[in-house]
């Protein structure tokens, strides 16, 4: 317990101090993207890591959250409490609509239909011009503000502010995800993956539980989307990018499924690696792909799993 408290204290101090160490705004931008991607990966991890079915459409809920957050921001002058909660709720409701037919499917059907849903959402965003601005997108989204009694207490202006905001969001979702992991819910989600029939026999309604994981995962993505909309001030149908779907899956796989730390680690790697490979210019995506391939082939449980395996090997040799 005290170890955990110390860990969190160190993490908080490090997060608070970061903008003073990383004075370059570009680096701070990357940190913000890590926080946003962490929220996405934590959300998908609930669906894919715990339930065991691969969703390839998690960007749908990011996009829905971004548009919902942006529209609420216009209406409320960027009240961040309304935008995040509103985006989470709307993304969650959308996930129920698609989850109902989709969650009964298994394996490849689940992956492909979720991907298809994302494509549909992208087309809706491009064509429902009155609401979404069409392909031109929505510019000038109000910045995130904490408003109480009509007066703005805090406002997100620069990268430093948004780092604090997105870090707070990611940290809260991480804690929630940890809580899910260690209470009955986490056990249930693993049980469904381990032995479906027995799960039913002990009283678990698989459909309800899967739906719950799906909705919470989507709500996480909704929060990520709304904060992204505040941060960039501009969104377009590109938020539903197919590549983003693949990237979120990649984060969870690279980091390691079914733990809460894995997705965060994965978000760091997937955000930073392409930047670190900038020197390779045109080859950078190629190298990224090859590294991804190597992880899948040689570390099927992700980097976190690799660390655990190596550690136990070293321990065995020492003994």
């Amino acid at each position: 317990m005290s170890k955990g408290v110390i860990g969190w204290a160190v993490a908080l101090i490090a997060a608070a101090a970061l903008p003073f160490v990383l004075t370059n705004n570009y680096y701070l931008h990357l940190m913000i993207m890590i926080a946003i991607n962490s929220m996405l990966a934590l959300g998908l991890n609930l669906i894919l890591g715990f339930v065991g079915d691969k969703s390839l459409g998690h960007a749908s809920f990011f996009g829905i959250g971004a548009y919902a957050g942006a529209l609420i921001a216009f209406a409320t002058n960027g009240n961040v409490v309304y935008t995040t909660i509103g985006a989470a709720v709307i993304a969650g409701v959308a996930s129920i609509a698609i989850g109902y037919p989709v969650l009964k499917l298994r394996g490849p059907y689940f992956a492909i239909v979720t991907l298809g849903f994302c494509l549909i959402m992208q087309l809706v965003a491009s064509n429902w011009v009155e609401l979404t601005g069409g392909p031109m997108g929505l510019p000038g989204i109000p910045s995130a503000k904490l408003i109480a009694g009509g007066t703005t207490i805090l406002e997100g202006v620069d990268e430093q502010d948004y780092w604090y905001i997105t870090f707070a969001g990611a940290a809260l979702l991480y804690l929630l995800s940890r809580s899910i992991e260690r209470t009955s819910l986490g056990r249930i989600l693993t049980a469904l993956k381990e032995n479906y029939n027995l799960s039913e026999a002990v009283g678990i309604n698989p459909f309800h539980i899967k739906m719950a994981a799906f909705v919470i995962g989507a709500a996480f993505a909704g929060v990520a989307g709304s904060l992204y909309a505040h941060y960039t001030g501009f969104i377009s149908p590109k938020v539903f990018d197919t590549l983003l779907n693949v990237n979120i899956v990649t984060m969870v796989i690279i980091g390691g499924e079914a733990t809460s730390s894995g997705p965060v680690l994965g978000a760091m790697v997937v955000t930073l690696l392409p930047e670190a490979l900038r020197f390779a210019e045109g080859f950078r995506l190629l190298i990224f792909g090859v590294i991804l391939l190597a992880v899948i082939m040689f570390a099927p449980k992700g980097l976190l799993g690799l660390v655990t395996t190596l550690r136990s090997k070293i321990r065995k040799e020492a003994a």
């Binding site: 691969k54 009964k104 992956a111 492909i112 298809g116 849903f117 087309l123 197919t242 391939l293 082939m297």
Partner: protein
């Protein structure tokens, strides 16, 4: 007249989608892999044909076959080196799927490095030549694609139903372990399947690209269309792919005329979700197996 035009262009597009879907459905049905790099094989096939035409100055038809062979070989090598090894591991049934996701990035960036992001034109003797029957407008390239698509569908059905190789492939599709006990070389069968699947993706690319432009990003839409078709019809079934392709082609044609062109690309997926609500295994598909 509009009705006939809509129906015929729907069927033409549908048969083209069939071509896209045949390879996908084959690699899923027999190889147990949804090949998310399918679109990339399609794109690489078109580039292979481009190289053959532009640098070797060979005719289009030759380039079509050359592309099929080259990409088929690349497909086999990929399958041997990257997919079969992870399929053998019992632990993660999702590893092959993830490998094809990674391949999607790798092939696309390879093409970007080799050809750059700017569009190319793949010349074809049939391209942009209209073809009129009874007031219905079609292009010669389309008709050629339909002809090839029918040819491949027929050949594939004959191969699966009438040959020993086809019998072995069906045995592997139905029960890998039993097929193995019967002395069938599973890996060889899966390799042949992958060669056929990726080769057909390449053929689809060479046939469809002359109507549009060629760049390293064309694979994505091809993959999305192909997936919609196989899910509509039922994964792993040749007849399902044909039915799914025609259904998608017609639905898109009617949708664009009578509903909205803007949502044309969404129609397939909307249809797919509706179909899956009632028949989770696709219209004539087998029961889903986890994999």
């Amino acid at each position: 007249m509009l009705l006939f035009q809509t129906i015929s262009s729907g069927i033409v597009n549908g048969m083209i989608y069939v071509l896209l879907a045949l390879g996908l459905t084959l690699t899923f049905g027999i190889g147990r892999v949804i090949n998310f790099a399918h679109g990339e094989f399609y794109m690489l096939g078109a580039f292979a044909a481009y190289l053959v035409i532009a640098h070797l100055h060979l005719p289009y038809i030759v380039a079509l076959f050359a592309a099929a062979v080259i990409i088929g070989i690349i497909g086999v090598v990929t399958n041997r080196l990257l997919i079969l090894p992870v399929q053998r591991k019992e632990s993660s049934i999702w590893a092959p799927f993830l490998v094809t996701l990674a391949l999607m990035t790798i092939f696309q960036s390879l093409a970007l490095v080799a050809f750059g992001p700017d569009p190319y034109l793949l010349p074809s003797p049939f391209a942009n030549k209209p073809f009129n029957i009874g007031g219905i407008n079609l292009s010669q390239q389309d008709l050629f694609a339909v002809f090839i698509s029918l040819f491949f569908s027929g050949m594939l059905i004959l191969l699966l139903k009438r040959t020993n190789l086809g019998l072995a492939m069906r045995a592997v599709a139905r029960d890998t372990d039993a097929a193995c006990l019967m002395g069938i070389n599973i890996q060889a069968i899966k390799s042949v399947t992958f060669a056929l699947g990726t080769g057909m993706a390449a053929v689809a690319g060479v046939l469809l690209i002359p109507q549009a432009v060629l760049d390293p990003y064309v694979g994505r839409m091809a993959l999305l269309k192909g997936l919609a078709v196989v899910i509509l019809g039922g994964l792993g079934d040749v007849y399902g792919a044909i039915l799914g392709g025609l259904l998608l082609g017609l639905a898109e044609a009617f949708g664009s005329v009578y509903i909205s062109v803007a949502y044309k690309d969404a129609i397939g997926y909307l249809l797919m979700i509706i179909v899956l609500l009632f028949r989770p295994q696709g219209i004539i598909g087998q029961k889903t197996r986890q994999g």
